[in-house]
């Protein structure tokens, strides 16, 4: 069913060759070093990777919310519905945030202001972007709360964050993100701080929200089981680059890049008992001093001479599957 869906779907976001660096006293950290991907309408793209691989910086770059002045987008295009976000003025970009793109952060405890009611915080983007006033605001707030399946929304909107549990708070954060019906929602590890059963609720909820609103989601995480449950397609990031992009089933059942397959093999399985886990030797490289050629070659079990010397180009294997590896032909 998804095959024909892909062909006539609108592309909501197209990112081309994005480079983002942090300039510090120690030098330039190439946090995102030439990343390209796209997200279709109503699709969830997972960005998976280990800490420091650049997945969060990618998300922040899309919103142009990098910590100033250290972080800077050096090159690339971020095209949302035909507009290149990198060409917008600061003021124009502010209008996009919350309205066209919004973001959910990891920690529900710190992403809400403790001094304002839930209703007030959800109303904020509505007042900013849609110039709504009075009862219309409250209606919209209640519908946002209802969208996120928050029980008794009329009462909840008068609550302060500390009166809600962690799971409820994260739903409120979701409601803020969805209040203006954005085209694209970036979720950065939104369930990492939650317990297993609450996480399951949240994921089920977000699939439901997506069906109702057709929003596109970029889901940033390190957790493969969440990726499997949530995402249509997956981009695997390593040391600032995407190494493989493919449909979720392909990533799990037929991974092509040695890093992807090694990662999947190294995660313990719930459905069988392993005696030993496959383990990848070494550690991810420093972003200050990346290896030449393919950045995974020092840890790669299948490394060849060419891997050390030249960076591998993109190889397309059928629709929606691309790999950056010399081993693929």
């Amino acid at each position: 069913m998804s095959e024909n869906k892909n062909n006539d779907k609108n592309i909501v976001l197209q990112v081309e060759d994005l480079h983002t660096s942090f300039f510090t006293r120690k030098g330039e950290y190439k946090a995102v070093d030439g990343v390209s991907f796209h997200v279709d309408e109503g699709e969830t793209l997972g960005i998976v990777g280990e800490s420091g691989c650049g997945k969060t910086v990618t998300g922040l770059s899309l919103l142009r919310l990098l910590p100033e002045p250290a972080g800077r987008i050096k090159a690339g295009k971020i095209i949302l519905d035909g507009t290149n976000l990198l060409e917008l003025s600061k003021k124009e970009m502010r209008k996009m945030r919350g309205k066209e793109i919004s973001m959910i952060l990891q920690d529900p405890m710190t992403s809400l202001n403790p001094l304002y009611t839930v209703g007030n915080q959800i109303a904020e983007p509505l007042r900013q972007h849609q110039q709504l006033v009075g009862d219309r605001v409250e209606e919209e707030v209640i519908s946002a709360l209802r969208l996120l399946n928050i029980p008794a929304p009329e009462q909840r909107l008068r609550d302060y964050p500390h009166q809600l549990s962690g799971g409820m708070r994260q739903r409120v954060v979701g409601a803020i993100g969805m209040s203006c019906n954005p085209r694209l929602l970036i979720a950065d590890e939104p369930t990492t701080a939650l317990d297993a059963t609450i996480q399951a609720q949240y994921i089920a909820l977000f699939k439901d929200v997506q069906k109702k609103t057709n929003v596109s989601i970029i889901y940033i995480t390190h957790d493969f089981s969440v990726v499997y449950q949530m995402c249509h397609r997956v981009a695997v990031m390593y040391a600032g680059k995407i190494l493989e992009t493919a449909r979720t089933e392909v990533i799990f059942n037929n991974p092509t890049h040695p890093y992807t397959s090694a990662l999947i093999k190294s995660v313990p399985r719930l459905d069988r008992k392993d005696d030993r886990l496959y383990s990848i030797k070494g550690h991810p490289p420093s972003l200050l001093n990346l290896p030449s050629g393919c950045r995974f070659y020092p840890r790669c079990p299948e490394a060849k001479n060419i891997c050390r010397d030249k960076e591998p180009p993109e190889t397309k294997i059928g629709d929606n599957h691309s790999v950056y590896c010399w081993g693929v032909n």
Binding site: I198, A200, Y228, H232, L270, I280
Partner: protein, 336 residues
């Protein structure tokens, strides 16, 4: 026959909740409420549950970091609460060590690796300096650290290497039991496998027992010989690991397994999603504590506390275990 290293009987820990100027006790947080299990020599028991289930309190009691309200802990058939202070210091403490979750905070940032690993030896063992130095280097080699790193400080290491340092430190006194509190959850995916393999190798080599505290079921299945599932301060299901994953009985266990198993975004969602959140441990629900969230709950559940039903080595505290047709049938008949 099995060789039991540690046994807990009916551990209870209630924290008083105080309020007002007079600090009057207005209630109790029932952090753990009757927890019993056994750990065999050379085997791993995992405690699984969500935050607030009482896993950490249980572990803290075993590590003597918390005073229990009631209950007893037997170590090599001796009640540790009846040991003298000297016996505790010399015969219990050194035998029960721990590795904590966060390798960034579990070490004094102002000590060198050499001193961090040596510290338990300095405190407890009667070794001279030369012996300590050799023991530290041997331990470092054992866990895969280069001996020339001994003079470095913790911040010079990555998370995985720090966790190796923590493992080396916990091994220093030749313990019988190591409490592993989420030993890999703070680590990167590609590093987790290295540490889990290391822990297994060490267990085999020294015939160590592990008490693992974890929330990730796949990690638990890989690490454990037996598993106890905790909910609101109580063990709701307890079985050999393989038995538990093949034949989970308690609805909560089934929901947990469902939450971490694999089902894609477009597929018909068959996973069990529990509604609501864990109630407050100050005022736990009547009857079965899980009934407020259980998708199979029926009238009896809110009234009567379920007795543990034992099936060989497997036990679960759920009224549905009385019904032969199983709980799914029951829930379907109820939900219509």
């Amino acid at each position: 026959m099995s060789d039991i290293l540690l046994e807990t009987r009916d551990l209870v820990k209630h924290y008083p909740v105080r309020k007002g100027v007079m600090q009057r006790t207005i209630g109790y947080v029932r952090a753990i409420d009757g927890v019993s299990f056994t750990i065999e020599r050379g085997k791993t028991l995992s405690l699984v549950g969500e935050s607030g289930a009482g896993k950490t309190t249980t572990a803290s009691a075993i590590l003597l970091l918390e005073q229990l309200t009631s209950g007893s802990i037997f170590f090599e058939d001796r009640d540790i609460y009846k040991l003298s202070n000297a016996e505790l210091k010399n015969e219990y403490r050194p035998k029960v060590q721990s590795v904590q979750q966060n390798p960034w905070s579990s070490m004094n940032p102002r000590m060198r690796v050499r001193d961090i690993i040596a510290e338990p030896l300095v405190i407890n063992a009667k070794l001279n300096k030369e012996d300590i130095r050799n023991r530290v280097l041997a331990l470092m080699e054992q866990v895969g650290l280069m001996p020339e790193w001994a003079d470095r400080y913790p911040h010079e290491f990555s998370g995985g290497q720090r966790q190796r340092i923590a493992v080396a430190r916990s091994l220093a006194l030749n313990p019988d039991l190591i409490v592993l509190d989420e030993p890999v959850s703070a680590l990167d995916v590609s590093i987790r496998a290295q540490i889990m393999n290391l822990l297994k190798d060490i267990q085999d080599e020294y015939n160590l027992s592990y008490l693992v505290i974890a929330h990730d079921l796949a990690t638990v299945r890989f690490m454990s010989h037996s598993v106890a599932i905790m909910y609101l301060g109580q063990i709701v299901e307890y079985a050999d690991s393989e038995e538990l994953f093949k034949n989970p009985m308690h609805p909560y266990t089934r929901a947990l397994i469902s939450a971490s198993s694999i089902s894609g975004p477009d597929e018909k969602d068959e996973s069990i999603v529990l509604s609501g959140e864990m109630p407050s441990p100050i005022n736990p629900p009547s009857g079965c504590r899980f009934h407020t969230r259980c998708i199979a709950a029926f009238d009896k559940c809110s009234v009567e506390v379920p007795e543990p039903r034992v099936f060989g080595t497997h036990y679960a505290t759920c009224h549905l275990c009385d019904y032969e047709e199983g709980w799914i049938t029951k829930s379907e008949s109820k939900s219509v």
